[in-house]
Symmetry: C2
Subunit: 286 residues, 2 copies
Amino acid sequence: MRTYLECIPCFIKQSLEAACMATDDEKIQTEVLKKVMKHLQNISFTNSPPELSREVHQIIKRITESKDPYKKVKGQSNEMAKKQYPYLKKLVTESDDPLLMAIKLSIVGNVIDFGTMNRLNVDDMIDNAVKREFDTSSYSQFKRALEHSETILFLADNTGEIFFDKVLLEELVEKQKQITYVVKANPIINDATVEDAYLAGIDKLATIIDGDSGQKQSAPGMILSYASKEFLDIFESSDMVISKGQGNYEGLSDVDRDVFFMLVVKCPLVAQDIGSEVGKIILKAK
Amino acid sequence: MRTYLECIPCFIKQSLEAACMATDDEKIQTEVLKKVMKHLQNISFTNSPPELSREVHQIIKRITESKDPYKKVKGQSNEMAKKQYPYLKKLVTESDDPLLMAIKLSIVGNVIDFGTMNRLNVDDMIDNAVKREFDTSSYSQFKRALEHSETILFLADNTGEIFFDKVLLEELVEKQKQITYVVKANPIINDATVEDAYLAGIDKLATIIDGDSGQKQSAPGMILSYASKEFLDIFESSDMVISKGQGNYEGLSDVDRDVFFMLVVKCPLVAQDIGSEVGKIILKAK
């Protein structure tokens, strides 16, 4: 997916958010905004949003001298989601269709801003999200693909959310699937890294790799031109690819490969591109 | 009120909005964003938001070659609000406290985006807004000030909203008050100009002036350094000053003069400055 003019105010808003997480010094925060605005004057809109976001966050990290502005928020997200795990597992076990419930929960994990919410609110949000209408038109296609697949490539998105992925991975492992779980090589926004995946115990269920291994800067979504050879080989050879979140969608929506996208639509441009609405939780076959 | 870093993404978002209203040419829209971002790299944060907004919209108008990007939206707002006027009048007439109801409606007029809504939705929104909790702590002070006042300076805000002001102006005229109604000299965002005030029939109730007469660019809020001598004289001599909307609040909040501010809080920074919350409708004595 290309970048639109509407992405610009969002990049700037996120730059300020990240700068404020990295430092309380208003002078440095101002410097971040100025440098980001300067950079955005010369970008190419044919690049995808995660590619530009990668450049923007490179500037933020350099000026704030912070390698990981979202470190605290990510820790809170993991902690909160970890506490939810037994409840998620219960929902799956008690469901008439455990696979569908696990898919739904994995997507729901993409909606919640764990860092800023208390336990009870998260419980409520999960219940509400699970009850919400869900377009199951791609579900039968997903099940058919799953039947014929031995190897699955699973592109993760955020911290916190990885505990919601875990219940889905467990369903897939139960069906004897071999899974490669792809995270980012470096901290970028609140995206999960190898460290987070191990914290969630994903290593017991899947082979964990960083898809952009060797890159000094990660993008908040898979961009094939930055991918490692290892990733590209598995991307090519896997029987099935599951991609979580908007960033991976933006990076892979135009790639010539069957992919099952699972995401919460958070932005009107993605909504338009994918043919849905902001706020919807989506399983979509490409 | 000073400008905060958080205003920057908003300025950029509004620039894009205005550019898209002025032209469908994405090249020109891009040029607007680039020039605005360039300008925002060298601003002083001690200036108030409407002062910077004035500069930003000057750039937008120059690059899009449009004197009034919001012309269509403003026309729709006036048209929709004009249709509401009989209903507003009925609400005031049937109220136990017509003055309070007229104040409330005048503020409610600041909340609705008339341009994009249909008639029934606006009816509902008015009903809901009127039922909403309203901090009346400044109302007794307002009534006391009114009793001792013959002349009132009334700073207007937006098109559409002016029809909601009209019911309040009528209450004030009934109490034999002499009112000066202040609008902008030039089109700026969706703010009301002299032409709009005449369209709403305000000339039958008040003396209409443009507060920044002679200026080539208007700001979306009163900035005394751009005000005309006529305005400054009346601002000085009036028994009472009523100021509508966030823009006028941002411009006048630090001025040494008693003012009754009436506004809908639309931004977290104004909320913090005025000691309230986003979404609240406020009558506040300064």
